[in-house]
Amino acid sequence: MTEARRRLKRSTDGAFVAGICAGIARRLDIDPVLVRIAAVVLTVATGGLAAVAYGLLWVVLPVAPKADAGHDRLPGRGTGRNSWLIGAGVGLMTLGLLFIFREVGLWWSDALVWPIVLATAGAALLWRQFSGSTDSETEAVLANTGVSGGDRSADGTRISPTVAKRSRLGPYRGAFGFALVVGAAVLFLYINGAFDAAGDAALAAVTVIVVLALVLAPVWVRLGRNLGRERAERVRSQERAEVAAHLHDSVLQTLALMQKKSDDPRQVSTLARKQERELREWLSGKTGDERATSLASALEAAAAEVEERHGLPIDAVTVGDRELDERGAALVAASREAMTNAVKYAGDAGTVRLYAEITPTETQVFVRDRGPGFDLDSVPGDRRGVRDSILGRMKLNGGSARVHSGDGEGTEIELTMETK
């Protein structure tokens, strides 16, 4: 939905001529009538430049997929009659445009005007023919593969008569368009006397080039689109190969290892968590650099590291983030020590949890376990982990540490570090 809205496309749903105005209206979410009025006003005001822009957009913009999956509109759209009308319409529009030019004082001779009108009508028929058949191909593919839903593929059979009808009509329209363009060129050359003995060879050459350009342009445009599609397909298959390689290197190896260790539930669970973490990290798409400068990532990495070393689960939740500085690094080290302490003495009593809240003014880290807890004052002097690595390190860097425990609700170490 959002993708369809974001990019400007020709809307064949409510198309008046080529669906440019309808496409713009859909993109801007306004009434197409307003856009059409604006287009007409612009055309007159710019002396026809806007009409040229319209033509360019017609060539360049891709066709939007139809909003409704219904096929009732399809037979009416792009059938022979419709295309004839459009060919004639474009011819008349060009004529009108040239009359407008005359009003503002730009009038080329009849020798130029009538061939141009004929040529644009012919070109419109030809281009319509080509861009129309790409549409129908796309729609046929959509219908057959059922991309846009079940009921659509059920309709797949209904699309073929239309396609057949159009391909039968197609050559006539194309041939007529081609004849118009060539006829316009011949007329132009004839009026300008290029067929006389002393005719202007350069003029004839230029005319042939213009004719070729008009006739071949839709083919080129289509070729370009197909190339783009192929390139996208190649990129996709490359990505698929990358994903497959990653899954093979990591997930499959871990699964094999887990089968071997299936008699040791703790190891299996550690392996599974480790693999889960790796996979999430990979899916998150963050680069190593981004992780290395983030305080939240550093805390999460520390939790993972302690969990891996001791084989007991640690759940980490972080809120907010900031750049990892010297104080942050000290905080991470103290947190790591607190977690190690928790899994060592209480890891069997339940999951150890790390919660970090990082605000612009301070960072708070809570490490909580379900163990019996301890009283800080009665911690024996030989347990240097708590005293030096946690309390000492925090104080040295201008932070503080507190221990909450008792009531049979486990132990929580609270670390607070103000931002400098």
């Binding site: 939740v317 809120v319 612009p360 809570f366 909580r368």
Partner: protein, 213 residues
């Protein structure tokens, strides 16, 4: 009477595992593996709680809630997912789930969560509490703090923070000197605010944090 539960998940192995764990505490009355099956089953069985996988083909858990919530008073939804991506969590809670837990949750914890959801309470895993705090109260510019939506009260933030730190409701009640009912009321209120915030604000939040493409 034990709580009647329906399990909706497209992974048969996972359904079987959850069912085995749950049978000690609740009554599993059905399983579904697709959105359509789930909708039919929920309409027919009218379970107390639906355990809902977030990611399934054809719209996932969100679609199941969307199709069944209007006619299913008395049925409550608890989202269960391997994903801990904030936008998934927030999306399913916003569509009407009463809680969100990750699939690595232990059996007894899951039964506890189902019981609470069946009583109409909100269930916040520590991860979900963290996301909500991040979304509503973070202090950088990339949050909803400036958006025009109900802000969390200091007390609600306090409760969420304790949930994120791994406290159970009864421990939070004791620590804050309030009743468990009050803790539950705060949690439900946070859930309501999350559901009321407009989709636009939340998706902008997620986008600015590069959470979705």
């Amino acid at each position: 009477m034990s709580i009647r539960v329906v399990i909706v998940d497209d992974h048969a192995i996972f359904r079987a595992g959850v069912k085995a764990e749950l049978e000690k505490g609740v009554d599993v009355v059905g399983e579904a593996s697709t959105v359509r099956e789930a909708v039919n089953l929920i309409v027919k069985q009218k379970p107390d709680v639906v355990l809902l996988d977030v990611h399934m083909p054809d719209g996932g858990g969100q679609e199941v809630i969307r199709q069944t919530l209007p006619g299913a008073e008395g049925t409550r939804f608890l989202a269960l997912s391997v994903s801990d991506a904030p936008e998934d969590v927030v999306a399913i809670v916003r569509s009407g789930a009463r809680g969100y837990v990750t699939k690595s949750i232990s059996g007894p914890e899951l039964i506890d969560a189902i019981t609470r959801v069946s009583q109409g309470d909100a269930v916040f895993s520590p991860q979900l509490a963290g996301f909500v705090l991040d979304a509503f109260t973070g202090n950088d510019e990339q949050t909803l703090a400036d958006a025009e939506l109900d802000q969390l009260t200091p007390r609600e933030q306090e409760v969420l923070r304790l949930i994120a730190r791994g406290y159970l409701y009864k421990e939070i009640a004791r620590r804050l000197g309030i009743s468990i009912k009050t803790v539950e009321a705060h949690a439900s209120s946070v859930l309501r605010k999350l559901q009321l915030s407009t989709r636009h604000e939340l998706s902008r939040w997620a986008q600015e944090r590069d959470l979705i493409d």
